[in-house]
């Protein structure tokens, strides 16, 4: 465990030693802030309109459902665009610079290295998520959002991000070129997002299949405040499978030399 933490710390530190962390967090905060303002203004205008028509009481707007949920839904798209920048260097850079020789000849197992890298990237992602919480905190000044669905939504985001990281790690382990890793990761993420679009043309089974494969669709229930074990299991098995394939890829690289 000590090794895993040491590697995770090193990974996190190296994000902040290079411009990557600042660029990713900066862009993330900027885009998220833009979404926040846009959705908030829309929400405010709508609720003012509703007030004018005297539609209060049971019809009043729900902050959770009409502001926070669409906002965090947009976060899933942001992850899709920014996460490749986080994961692309993890293995590719070590292979290019030769530092992978240090890790592979140190008394640590491949699994410990992979877990360290995974947790390091996940920590950066948690920091990114923490930034988004500030905006949501402000909502408490003007409204009374329910905290429980927010917690489930964030749990969903954490799992969703974990999937992207494990997939990104796998792709990064397949090449020694960061740019290639980043591009491929982005393309795969995008494909996993839009995969449902063709689902309706291929009959009910195909539809179900594509919906199941879409990483982002599994988040919807979390956004509504529901923790469905199917989705939790989906995400956890996705992460495990991604990490397992990364381990296989690292191992096969060893054999091929």
């Amino acid at each position: 465990m000590g090794n895993v933490i040491a590697i995770a710390q090193k990974e996190l530190k190296s994000y902040f030693a290079s411009p990557i962390a600042y660029i990713v967090i900066g862009l993330w905060a900027l885009l998220y802030g833009y979404f926040f303002v846009a959705i908030l203004s829309f929400f405010v205008r709508q609720s003012m309109g509703m007030n004018q028509f005297g539609m209060q009481g049971p019809q009043a707007m729900n902050v959770n459902q009409q502001l926070i949920r669409p906002l965090l839904q947009n976060v899933t798209i942001l992850i899709l665009f920014l996460m490749p920048m986080v994961t692309m260097r993890t293995y590719a850079e070590e292979k290019r610079s030769g530092t992978i020789e240090l890790l592979l000849t140190a008394p640590v197992t491949d699994f410990q290295i992979i877990m360290g890298k995974f947790l390091g990237a996940l920590s950066l992602y948690v920091i990114m998520l923490a930034v988004t919480m500030i905006h949501i905190g402000f909502l408490y000044f003007g409204g009374r959002p329910e905290w429980k669905p927010i917690v489930t939504a964030y749990l969903g985001l954490l799992l969703l991000g974990g999937c992207f990281i494990s997939l990104g790690l796998l792709i990064s382990s397949l090449t020694s070129n960061q740019i290639v890793a980043g591009m491929v990761t982005f393309a795969v993420f995008l494909l996993l997002w839009v995969i449902t679009w063709v689902g309706s043309f291929g009959g009910p089974t195909f539809d179900k299949l594509t919906t199941y494969l879409s990483i982002i669709d599994h988040w919807d229930d979390f956004g509504k405040g529901v923790i469905d074990t199917t989705h939790v299991i989906y995400y956890l098995s996705f992460i495990t499978f991604g990490l397992f394939l990364t381990a296989k890829s690292v191992d096969s690289e060893r054999w091929r030399g």
Partner: protein
């Protein structure tokens, strides 16, 4: 301490290392000599557990590198060809990180880091970023990294490559100092390095072990034919004809000539001492014998003759006699 048995590594169809076997005793420095692409790095990578062998066995510090990799790696320090430094870490941060993954107990870490920095003389750059270091310092930080967990075995892949002459001498001295406590394998394609630092040499070419011996034995015993240098004051006469006539002498070449004093290189059959006959021939002809000494083949020549195909076939008996059995 290190035992390598019939190690073979194939990359697809290419065989990088073919049936390599050798042993290294505790506290010894073994030189791994060969031209580029001979399989030195591959062998070292197998020994450090970086990659598995296709066939064969390697035991480091009592542990099979394939069956018990973690135990073997705990006892091995490895300096790859390019020091594996993280550019965005300072030297001290880097060494601390390495000490963590190499399982130096938390209580000893600070002290160990200081120790190896002193040993490798990098304490003056402790807080500098690895990316800002000169080649010499990078190499030394790489060496410090290999030493940090006080391993029994040190495997150094071309530790002096790219250093300036002063740094090369310093590094060699450091390696020699380390030899008592650590068993060391170092690879190089620089020959004097081997004769200066190593107790034994493994010469490897195209994945095969060509010879294993001490540098001295290699120079003295690997000569296909013996060559003598004879300096004669022949004053007018030509000594070469009478020298050629001596039984056992294969060839006489005039090496230098100055004021009637002529130096000849006399090549004779291997294992046949012609010195007495040479002296007698010169003296009985009435010339003055000024100098008579055996010419030793330099390690350089041995290396070339072993690793260059057409020459390697010329002195086959000697070369094969030297290949150590298992």
């Amino acid at each position: 301490m290190i035992e390598v048995q019939h190690l073979t590594k194939r990359y697809g169809r290419v065989t990088a290392v073919d049936d390599v076997s050798f042993r290294v005793e505790r506290g010894e420095i073994l030189g791994f000599l060969g031209p580029n692409g001979a399989g030195k790095t591959t062998t070292m990578r197998i020994l450090t557990g970086y990659m598995p062998a296709t066939e064969g066995k390697a035991i480091v510090a009592g542990f099979d590198v394939f069956d018990q990799p973690i135990e073997a790696k705990r006892r091995t320090g490895y300096l790859p060809e390019t020091p594996p430094l993280y550019p965005d870490m300072s030297v001290i941060e880097y060494l601390t990180f390495v000490s963590k993954i190499k399982r130096v107990p938390a209580a000893d870490r600070r002290q160990r880091v200081q120790q190896v920095m002193q040993k490798t003389r990098i304490d003056d750059v402790a807080n500098r970023l690895c990316s800002k270091l000169s080649k010499g310092y990078r190499q030394r930080v790489g060496l410090a990294q290999a030493l940090i967990h006080n391993p029994d075995v040190l495997i150094l892949d071309e530790p002096t490559a790219g250093l300036d002459p002063k740094q090369i001498i310093e590094t060699r001295q450091l390696i020699k100092q380390l030899a008592g406590d650590h068993t060391i394998i170092l690879s190089t394609h620089i020959l004097p390095e081997v004769s200066q630092t190593c107790q034994r040499v493994v010469i490897i070419n195209k994945g095969h072990v060509v010879a294993v011996d001490t540098p001295d034995n290699l120079t003295s015993r690997l000569r296909g034919s013996e060559t003598m240098y004879v300096q004669v004051d022949a004053s007018g006469g030509d000594a070469s004809t009478s020298l050629t006539g001596i039984p056992g002498v294969l060839r006489v070449v005039e090496a230098d000539r100055k004021d009637g004093v002529v130096g000849y290189e006399v090549e004779s059959e291997h294992g046949r001492d012609v010195r007495r006959d040479l002296a007698r021939a010169v003296v009985s002809s009435g010339w003055g014998l000024l100098e008579l000494r055996p010419l030793r083949m330099s390690l350089e020549e041995i290396f070339l003759s072993l690793t260059t195909e057409d020459l390697a076939t010329a002195p086959p008996a000697a070369a094969e006699g030297e290949v150590v059995n298992g």
